[in-house]
């Protein structure tokens, strides 16, 4: 069951993306890629960009995109979360693209958006400088203006960049307040991080007097909006993962026999599944509500935190419960359960943990 309230257009988009991902990235293949035994073919993202228009989903049509709303983006991210497909959908088409839209600076953004929409380049959002800061604080990164050009110096970490993006969107202090800049990968020093999530790479970057393009300066409100959107988008992806995990545990509970009975007939197992359903349906409401409000341009400060908390918690809980339902087989390396467990724990910490968002909520509520 699924209590999503969706338009026909969204249903169709969801179905098309699901068909593509199921055919292209079945979980066995994702597992092999995670283990380094197989690669993602180089042109796959360009293909997804050209075929389904995924890379430019929310990019305006004038730049070659689909001009879809953040509501549609949320739906697509759910499918990526469900399949763990190792394409830069969240990292580039969502997190790497949204800042251009928020800053709304067509002159500057045009070449980037066109390349992103074509799927010929990818971008990554690089705001964090240290762990445990939400919203991300600009600790040391500074931008310096020389006439019409800018340079940035500093470092960023915990960047979802799918193993290396073409552009990095960084925040930096300027005399006019915090600014948002684009830096080319050629101008940064990139270091791979060891990631718990085997299906998505992370890195840190550092840059010294790197040439930068200013998307916005004196941009505190844009920075806040970008981070609220980031939390909302990650939540959509988490919801898709939690949904997949609910399905996985239910399927196993319907098939596995112990003591002469289908294990799903035991209350202990049945109630674990039911509790997960209760959590998933609540998280679905929270995630879709936030994405829809974002699409309608409402202030999503509270909704984003709500979605991130609800989806982080259900995804973590569900992936642990799923392993429990599976018993021994569930914690083997060969079983895909841990890929989702790892994704859940990783995204739990990224773009604000539940603890951080709870505090943000109370502040947002005026307490």
């Amino acid at each position: 069951m699924c209590m999503s309230v969706m338009t026909q257009e969204r249903e169709a988009l969801k179905g098309a993306v699901a068909d593509y991902l199921d055919a292209t990235f079945p979980i066995d293949k994702v597992h092999r890629i995670a283990n380094g035994k197989e690669d993602v073919s180089a042109g796959e993202w360009t293909k997804a960009a050209q075929g389904l228009g995924l890379a430019g989903l929310v990019i305006p049509e004038e730049f070659g995109g689909q001009g879809a709303s953040l509501g549609e983006l949320g739906v697509v991210l759910q499918e990526f979360g469900r399949t763990l497909a190792p394409l830069p959908m969240l990292s580039s088409a969502a997190l790497g693209t949204v800042p251009f839209l928020v800053c709304d600076n067509a002159n500057v953004s045009k070449p980037y958006l066109e390349a992103l929409a074509a799927g010929t380049a990818t971008a990554a959002l690089a705001l964090s400088e240290a762990a445990n800061q939400w919203p991300a604080t600009i600790n040391t990164t500074v931008a310096t203006q020389n006439g019409d050009t800018w340079t940035v110096t500093g470092s960023k970490t915990f960047i979802l960049d799918n193993g290396g993006a073409d552009f990095y969107i960084v925040s930096a202090s300027t005399p006019q307040g915090p600014g948002i800049f684009v830096v080319n990968s050629a101008d940064v020093q990139r270091t791979d991080l060891n990631a718990m999530d085997l299906t998505r790479k992370q890195s840190s970057i550092s840059f010294n007097n790197a040439k930068a393009t200013a998307l916005a300066v004196n941009a505190q409100s844009q920075l806040t909006q970008i981070q609220n959107l980031a939390a909302t988008l990650v939540a959509s992806e988490q919801l898709g993962g939690a949904d997949a995990i609910l399905k996985m545990m239910v399927e196993y509970a319907k098939m596995r026999v112990q003591f002469g009975r289908i294990i799903g007939s035991f209350q202990a197992i049945k109630h674990m599944c039911a509790n997960t359903l209760v959590e998933v349906e609540q998280a679905r409401g929270a995630a879709e509500d936030a994405a829809d409000r974002a699409a309608q341009g409402e202030d999503i400060t509270l909704s984003a935190s709500l979605a991130k908390i609800a989806c982080s918690e259900v995804f973590s809980d569900a992936t642990l419960t799923n392993i429990r339902v599976h018993g021994g087989i569930g914690y083997t390396w060969e079983h895909p359960a841990h890929l989702y467990f790892r994704r859940a724990r990783s995204t739990n910490a990224l773009f604000g943990s539940p603890v951080q968002h709870r505090e943000a909520l109370l502040v947002g509520l005026g307490y």
Binding site: M3, V5, F266, Y367
Partner: protein, 415 residues
């Protein structure tokens, strides 16, 4: 329910009518002290009953009751969209309609679907007008989660039926005119196959209603005893021995009704519980304590999530979907929230939550709230039953081995 199509202009005209009606006949919510809690308590007093009945009479006489119900039985034969418009306009006004929840949410739909034409003509109009209040006589001391294990007997005696047994957890039995009762008419067949439903006049000789006091001190529920109560043949609802299907229908309506109006989903989409706790925390000074803030935010999250779930459920019902498992989800989430709210208030009040002076109404209110919370999780179906329903009906997981399903009822192990 009718499926007529209405024009936008008709709807708009209807909206104006409803708006005017409410502004001249109802009180705005914020004008009423006490809020929801006060309302539920009020449901138990005679005074409130008079207020409620007058309100419902007026609604009916203005053509605003039973909007989507057939005209031939006293309804208005309007559409679900009229109902939606009504709900939108009613929102924010005090609706003293708790005493009619069981009548209109559970009993009337059952009579409409399973009753005789005579029963429909006789009862549905008065129910919609608030002149007849009904109760539901299902649970028994020995048949709680297992309603189909009921043992209250109905025996045919000539043209009449004779009822003996006991029901329990009957809301509103003490002020009801009629009750919908399920009885055992054949113990020689499997449990679900020997159950028959009747309409019983609550003032009939042999019916005794005794209030059942809960641990919080409240007594909205009753025990009802049947001692050789004689019913006419016309009291039969549906077929003899086929009452389980109708009973299931009534229970599903209950869950929707609890979901939509009472148990989990509340009426508004606000965060009433959070607001009250935040006020308490501000008052005690704990609002600056991070442990308190963390828990307070969790309560906001759970309350908002439940409100969103309610909106989605209403949206789904409005688009014509059959009621799904949302009722069970809302009931589980709602009772967990209730328990968490009660606990947090106790943490904030510390010693004052467990002992207070006569003038400390805040402590009394929260202590009463705590004492009501365990019952809130159980009434209308335990969490375990809700999880079984979700696991089996929504997720398709197999049932437990059912030892009692196919054996004659009289051979089943019982209390």
């Amino acid at each position: 329910m009718t499926t007529a199509i209405e024009t936008p202009a008709e709807l708009e005209e209807f909206r104006v009518k409803v708006r005017d009606w409410f502004s001249s006949n109802a009180q705005r919510e914020d004008a009423q002290a006490g809020g929801e809690a006060g309302e539920v308590e009020a449901g138990e007093t005679e005074d409130f009953l008079v207020v409620a009945r007058n309100f419902q009479n007026k609604l009916y006489d203005s053509g605003l009751s039973g909007l989507a119900w057939p005209k031939e039985y006293g309804g208005q034969s309007l559409t679900m969209n009229h109902q939606r418009v009504f709900n939108e306009e009613a929102s924010g006004y005090v609706m003293p309609s708790t005493p009619f929840m069981v009548t209109l949410g559970m009993c009337a739909p059952t009579i409409l679907q399973y009753g005789t034409e005579e029963q429909r003509k006789r009862h549905i109009g008065p129910m919609l007008r608030g002149d007849e209040i009904w109760c539901q006589l299902f649970s028994e001391p020995g048949a709680g989660s297992d309603v189909a294990g009921l043992t209250t007997k109905a025996v045919r005696d000539g043209d009449e039926w004779v009822i003996n047994g006991q029901k329990v957890w009957t809301s509103g039995a003490h002020y009801s005119n009629f009750g919908l009762i399920v009885t055992r008419t054949n113990p020689d067949v499997p449990k679900h196959k020997g159950i028959t439903m009747f309409i019983v006049d609550m003032k009939a000789p042999g019916v005794t209603v005794r209030p059942l006091r809960q641990m919080s001190g409240a007594s909205g529920f009753n025990e009802v005893f049947f001692d050789n109560v004689r019913l006419p043949a016309t009291a039969l609802v549906g077929e003899v021995d086929q009452g389980w299907t109708a009973a299931i229908g009534t229970l599903m309506n209950e869950r929707v009704s609890i979901g939509a109006g009472g148990g989990g989903l509340g009426r508004g989409t606000g965060t009433v519980q959070f607001d009250r706790l935040a006020e308490l925390a501000t008052h005690t000074g704990a609002i600056t304590d991070p442990v308190t803030r963390n828990e307070l935010a969790t309560i906001w999250v759970k309350e908002r999530t439940l409100a969103i779930l309610g909106d989605r459920m209403r949206a789904s019902l409005k688009s014509g979907n059959a009621p799904g498992p949302e009722g069970s989800i809302a009931k589980l989430a709602g009772s967990e929230l209730g328990s968490r709210v009660a606990d947090m208030a106790m943490d904030l009040l510390a010693e004052s939550g467990q002992a207070w002076t006569n003038d400390d109404e805040e402590s009394l209110r929260w202590a009463t709230n705590l004492l009501g919370s365990p019952g809130g999780a159980i009434a209308g179906g335990t969490p375990e039953i809700m999880r079984n329903i979700l696991g089996e009906r929504s997720l398709g997981l197999p049932k437990e081995p059912q030892l009692d399903r196919d054996m004659p009822f009289k051979e089943i192990r019982a209390n």
